[in-house]
Amino acid sequence: MAQLTVSDVTLSFGGLKALSEVNMTIEPGLITSIIGPNGAGKTSMLNCISGFYHPTRGNIFYKDKKLTHASPHEVSNMGIARAFQNLELFSGLTVLDNLLLARHQNLKYNFIEAVVFYGKASRVEAENRAYVEDIIDFMELEPYRKSLVGNLSYGVQKKVEVARALTLAPDILLLDEPMAGMNQEEKEDIVRFVLDIQKEREITVVLVEHDLGVVMDISDRIYVLDFGEVIGSGTPEEVAQNPKVIEAYIGEG
């Protein structure tokens, strides 16, 4: 059974149709990529799933729960985490605090316990710190643990962004161009992390990416969007042979 189903989703801003009747199924445990030229609606699609936009028509289901009108925090509490394309980190905080923030819903203590900070709150905080350290270890962020995020280089910030989404302990991870603006070495790093996330942590990955080489290499399924419509889908091989996709990318008729 599909983990995430997007059925007939249309998103329009006034007269502009960002998405029109998009259908997608995200299978558990796979890396599904969404590609397409600039302005094709890839990020709009992710925004719809993660609750920042609500589809004008159509529905989105996570397993059997409907999340068409869910707000972002409801979506993330269901187990769908999101890393942003333009860094949306808490730049005034340390890497550690950024990741601890993502544990918000997992910290089970009440306000009074927090104010007293003795016993339960302290214990739960320490347990969650251990969890966060596990992620820091996994994403190899140890050297930057206590540095302010705003002072880190772009490549590291991107890694923190992915790490923070991972700290939510999601079932599905939505990555919005995690490799944009990176050099070859950093890209290879991120690709390895994405594969590790899928294999080791058994998280379904939805990837929006421009680098076709990367996408063709690591994806299990690909959806190609153009002008808000799905023009092709399937395995990387199938997509590479699809004449519509070739037309959209190379421009020959």
Partner: protein, 364 residues
């Protein structure tokens, strides 16, 4: 390996709980304990006049209020120009009891801790209601929404006969285990009560900032879109921030009412609101110790300006008008200068001073 708890050097944390400690070494803790003891002991050994004891009490009340404002403005990044009105809510909670039951009713005089707590909750309730526009408004627009609350508050107090149309409503003398607190002990008594509250609330805030309830405030300040994606409800967090600030303000208001043994609306005007903002800014936004520096600095400046005006008026009689102008003038100047040259406030000086003494003398 023997562990020397007095020095930071040579000690390595082996659990995450060890890292949560507020005081890293026993030295830090001892110094702080000594400091607290001094705060509690000095009035006994060096008694000062009633007039100055009132000033000290005033500073402590302002610290309670500014702690709340700092949580709201410094940590959650939400501007409130109605803080004096929230303080007024707390004060008038006590006043309404005194007005309906009589100013020396047993509830007012014996159950004052309950009333102070109740005033805090009333402040929190009004804070949450006034915070509702924060769900939609940001920055300047939010400031105007809170400003309107300030105005509504002043009008309501001024026109309702229940609140004596803003004229003084008296609050009776309180009782302690030893009996009624008389005229001579009054300011000393409240010094100890408010100081205890300040210490408790200070530790409360310090703890709160280490937990999710504190971090969520900072999250909505820095990036409320990302906070939303991280599973917090940004709207709820903002309302909660207002409620928290309202609670501190309410407590401060009740303390104010008891300290002055009566209240009138002129203590809760827009002018006072701006004053609290100035204290928060001068102290240092987004830091806990800033909430302590700010009120001390501003109130001290007030006194010094009064002295200066008195001094000038003594020698040049024509300049006695100066005294009225000097206070607001210096007040405005200090805010502008701080915003220009030290936007991070006095707390930043404290931070710098601490980092100097980190290496000297032989801290490690």
């Amino acid at each position: 390996m023997s562990v020397n708890t007095w020095l930071a050097t040579g000690n390595f944390n082996t659990t995450y709980r060890q890292e949560q400690k507020t005081f890293v070494t026993s030295l830090d803790r001892s110094i702080f304990t000594l400091f607290l003891l001094t705060l509690f002991a000095w009035p006994v050994f060096f008694p000062i006049s009633q007039k100055y004891m009132l000033v000290v009490d005033n500073i402590l009340v302002a610290i309670v209020a500014v702690m709340g404002l700092n949580l709201l403005l410094g940590f959650a990044g939400l501007i409130s120009i109605g803080h004096a009105a929230f303080i007024g809510i707390g004060a008038y909670t006590v006043a309404s009891f005194s007005r309906t039951l009589g100013d020396s009713h047993v509830i007012v005089t014996h159950f004052w801790p309950v009333l102070i707590l109740l005033a805090g909750f009333m402040g929190a309730l009004f804070g949450a209601i006034v915070g509702l526009p924060a769900l939609r408004l940001k920055h300047l627009y939010l400031a105007i929404a809170t400003l309107s609350f300030q105005m509504i508050f002043q009008w309501v107090i001024n026109f309702m006969s229940f609140f004596n149309q803003g004229q003084t409503i008296y609050v009776g003398r309180v009782f302690w285990f030893t009996g009624e607190i008389g005229r001579n002990q009054h300011y000393m008594f409240w010094y100890y009560i408010i100081l205890t509250l300040v210490v408790l609330m200070g530790f409360g805030v310090r703890n709160l900032l280490k937990t999710r309830y504190g971090r969520s405030l900072v999250a909505v300040r820095d990036n409320d879109r990302a906070a939303d994606a991280m599973g917090m409800n940004p709207g709820l967090t903002k309302v909660y921030a207002f409620a928290l600030a309202g609670f501190f303000a309410g407590v401060a208001g009740a303390l104010h009412a008891y300290l002055y043994r009566g209240i009138g609306f002129e203590s809760f005007t827009l002018h006072q609101s701006v004053g609290y903002l100035a204290m928060a800014i001068v102290g240092g936004l987004g830091t806990l110790n800033g909430s302590f520096w700010g009120p001390v600095a501003i109130k001290y400046l007030d006194i010094q300006m009064e002295h200066l005006a008195e001094f000038a008026g003594h020698y040049m009689v024509q300049a006695s008008n100066l005294s009225t102008a000097l206070k607001p003038l210096s007040f405005g100047l200090v805010i502008v200068l701080f915003l220009m040259f030290e936007p991070r406030g006095i707390a930043n000086w404290w931070r710098i001073a601490k980092s100097y003494t980190k290496l000297w003398p032989f801290r490690y």
